[in-house]
Symmetry: C2
Subunit: 252 residues, 2 copies
């Protein structure tokens, strides 16, 4: 028996999220079906991040145990022949038999993409939050600084969470703006941390947009954080702007 780690990229648009749910199409159900088709084994993968419906991934991680003799690095191309075009394995290798992708120290990086444009852009609708007015990137950068470090992120966590502690460490937040055309600007919020609460990155994005739009001052983010109460944070940004970029583990 070997434990295989796979890195998984997907376009979340047409999935009901990562996690298995009866009767709907999820990333997990597609992976389990591809592994069964390849090895004949009834296997349920264990994922690192159970992303929501509409959220994308360039580097989610999952592990599974197999009796198959397929070389570890061949799972990547072999599983891809069975997977649909909106989910693909980008890498596969063997890990220690006790490696658990949610119980090992890691750095996770998410990106949230916003397109400020007077008119909607059909070509970017699946991977940006489109906002019909300009945002002040400088103020968003100023506000983002308050979130760096170890904090209780209860104000940035959807009430549905069942996590015991709401303390997390954000290693870095970077807000960058790029002009696409005279009338549009793409803003990317890149967040790296040791783990994230339910909806945390989307609430960070929604909160920074409140500041960028001038509805709140940057200092409001500091106050909202200190109050540790979800009603103090900003709104939850829509899922399609979010992409899980990568997960880096210290040990394998």
């Amino acid at each position: 028996m070997r434990r295989i780690l796979i890195k998984v990229a997907y376009d979340g648009t047409d999935f009901h999220g990562w996690q298995l749910q009866p009767g709907v199409r999820t990333v997990e159900s597609e992976l389990n079906a591809a592994i069964k088709a390849l090895t004949g084994e009834e296997i349920a993968v264990t994922g690192a991040s159970r992303t929501d419906a509409g959220v994308h991934s360039m580097g989610n991680v999952a592990v599974f145990d197999t009796e198959s003799t397929i070389p570890a690095d061949r799972f990547c191309p072999a599983l891809n022949t069975y997977l649909p075009e909106d989910v693909k394995v980008t890498e596969s290798f063997e890990v220690k038999p006790d490696f658990h992708p949610r119980k090992v120290n890691c750095r996770k990086t998410y990106e949230y993409r916003i397109l400020c444009s007077r008119v909607p852009d059909p070509l970017r609708r699946r991977n940006t939050w489109q906002i019909p007015y300009a945002l002040d990137v400088g103020k968003m950068q100023e506000a983002a600084k308050y979130l760096i470090g170890e904090h209780d992120f209860a104000s940035f966590c959807c009430v549905r969470t069942q996590a015991e502690s709401t303390v997390r460490t954000v290693f870095d937040i970077e807000v960058t703006g790029k002009d696409n055309t005279a009338a549009s600007k793409e803003i990317t919020i890149r967040v790296t941390g040791n783990g994230f609460l339910y909806n945390m990155v989307r609430i960070i994005a929604g909160t920074l947009v409140e500041v960028g739009a001038g509805k709140k001052e940057p200092e409001w983010v500091k106050e909202a954080l200190e109050k540790a109460d979800r009603t103090e944070g900003g709104p939850t940004a829509p899922p399609q702007g979010l992409v899980l970029k990568e997960i880096i583990y210290e040990e394998k």
Copy 2:
């Protein structure tokens, strides 16, 4: 009666191309339906480029005649409220009553996007031609130079065309490569000309890929052009890599 020009952006994935066809969803049918919903008029728009199924646009152009009193620049936001999310009007203004978008001198720019990557990328599948091996950008640039200028592009034209002359002028072709990750490279072929034959940009892309892959030498493109015979050109690249970037008219 006024003639209104609209610029139109769309994600071509879920359209059977631009042109009206019975029983299927096309960009033209959506535009006509939106104009009818807005003004009550039965109008058929006249488009500049009748793009194929799967081909995208950031700046196609269409005109229509209307008795409506809606200010010309308000057609853009008003039509967008009736249009589906994969097609939007980005600009609208009045033009001379005899302006015809296919009969006036213009510069059209298309981009063709290729992603060279060992593993497929689900997030780029709708707007790139994904090729599982590397291409030599330098050789593609060398080959592209032969296509610049006024030539008979019969070797780069699908036999289905009904155009009388196959002579066109290509003002410029730019082939640029950008490394996205260690294992992937995005190549963009940007072509500007005074008009293009049926499938011409896709055949140019398919031909340059033959050279980039080392199957042919750059000089082969010069020979293929001179023979003016479709069987001498390269294969037609798939539609999803192509986007009509803009059309610039000398007069309005």
